[in-house]
Symmetry: C4
Subunit: 198 residues, 4 copies
């Protein structure tokens, strides 16, 4: 059994880098002169990737908040837990790829399927982390109440559920499918806190 | 209510990455042989992006200092505060894009407008963070005096004000507009400290 | 003699960045319209780099875990130890290059040799770090038992040994050689913990 | 006056990212099939950038060690000190650019001049940081002896001196000039420690 501090700091590092690397998906033309007309056309073309950037940034930020809340209760760490966090980080650091994909292939359903699957995997790994840590109070503090366990389990489950819904809506409207993902941060940040203080 | 340490560390991570990614905007030609003439021409072409790199680096560094000062007084954190910090990080990590834009479109006013708007957003989010934290001493230590609250509020407001001024100057002279942004770090670093020690 | 905390944090930073940069090796086409056919072809082409990405991610994650376990026992740091950690970080941060190489040259044995050599170097540097720290209990806590010293020495040695085996298998089957590397994380994560708590 | 911990962590972050970004200077061809002949030619072409990568990695690592040693003695921080650290970070995060430059323009003296100037600036900013902190024991612990102050001042001065020497040697032999930079890590890591413990 090891202390959670360093694992937490390492996860923070990976999430911070993944969230910041998203901006590299926004290409800047490397020519050094362009007409106003061309710049406007370029910016119009950038609107779609920009929107994808903002949404992915908000989603990764939301996963970070959920991870933050989970580690608020974790007070020890074993190898399986490290491995589960590794799965979570693998999903998170993969996000720039499907984000770029659905920016480049904006009208393609397949790109959206890959995007939704990645988000679902990020959420599912958080569910798994919390489930493993709280099962028989394995890695969490003893005073964590059942209501906290259930509340966080439910809230982390929102991501895979919403991703699934977004896939179901996809054949009807791609734009609606895209907007669905905003339910994830809204559900998370609108939550009224009832958990005991730190 | 959670402890601010991890949020602070996460913000530091994102700011550190954003500030270091700026250098990726400086392109190095990937050919492996060039005449001296060509290298000189290339370097001359790089002077403008280089200047943009230095200014953006200084600005992001200044925002970090302001964030550092703010968190010196914050001793607890709630979900809204996390969300506000998320908005700040979104603005900060976006900076490489307008920096690249105004490097590539050097004579274009529109590129400068986007640049100024990004800087204004960075500054405004810091104002918002400080205002939210100090409103009724919500998240700051009780012993924070009114003069400290006002002093930091004023200094974080410099960034949006200067960005607005830079926009007003833009039709007159683009170079002057560019230089205006240096007022932000000067105002911040020249400040005489009167705040109580840590 | 210095405290290990800052060295540990710095190593975490470099490993976190190296592991996250791997995703940049997955290229996204920058065209903004493509037929479904082309996207499918592109994704099929991406499967091989994707697999390389996942394996390298798991390997670097495993080295992080080993580093984490090592620093669990280290309680002071000297210049030679810092230098050895520098060698380790040089190897780790180099991983994206051979990963990209064996993605681009997928049927080439030479690319696999470079890949295996890099992994072997990562593992060997960890062996060296642990050997230096425990030699005469130089930098570790006094209560570290001989069995812990031997156990970690053996487990860090798995990486260079497996890399060597992968090279031997290479003339027979490249795919088998590639799969061999998965022995490294399996050996590490399947380990039953007997070490004293933190 | 603020506590040095967060400034230290922020500097660590920027240095860790700058040192890891160096690997992005090593280009991997994005074609997915190449003859053995072409791969060998590519690797031969990569030897020079690879050497540049290793040297820059070692140099940045050495600056980190010097920064680590300096902060071992610093126990408070003011705005000027933050600004000086900002100058240091600006130099450090700039290193990937001249590294790439002298990789691409391998026989060009001008590229080496820019490289040497950057290294000199990194070293000079460390001299400045230490000088400012120790002047009248402004920011360091009171028990820091004169011999420690002088010893670190001397050792941080090695970098600008060696960079200057490398420039003087440049007209005679570019290779010798390149090798000179290795004196910096050797001088730093071969140092016998006499400083009091942490």
């Amino acid at each position: 059994m090891y202390k959670p501090e360093r694992l937490m700091a390492f996860c923070d590092g990976v999430i911070a880098i993944a969230i910041t690397l998203l901006v590299l998906g926004l290409e800047v033309p490397s020519v050094h002169s362009m007409t106003d007309q061309q710049l406007l056309a370029f910016l119009e073309d950038s609107l779609h990737p920009l929107w994808g950037y903002v949404v992915s940034f908000i989603l990764v930020g939301t996963y970070w908040l959920q991870h933050y809340v989970i580690f608020h209760y974790v007070d020890k760490v074993d190898r399986t837990f490290v491995a589960l966090n590794g799965v979570f980080l693998l999903c998170i650091s993969f996000v720039p790829f499907p984000t770029g994909l659905q920016s480049s292939f904006r009208d393609d359903d397949l790109a959206m399927v890959i995007y939704a699957a990645t988000q679902a995997a990020c959420g599912a790994s958080l569910v798994w982390i919390w489930w493993y840590a709280t099962r028989g109070r394995r890695l969490v503090r003893d005073d964590v109440s059942d209501s906290v366990v259930k509340s966080i389990l439910w809230r982390t489950s929102v991501t895979p559920l919403v991703s699934l819904l977004a896939l179901l809506v996809l054949p009807i409207s791609q734009d609606m499918s895209r907007l669905m993902f905003l339910v994830i941060p809204i559900a998370q940040f609108s939550h009224r806190e009832q958990e005991p203080g730190g």
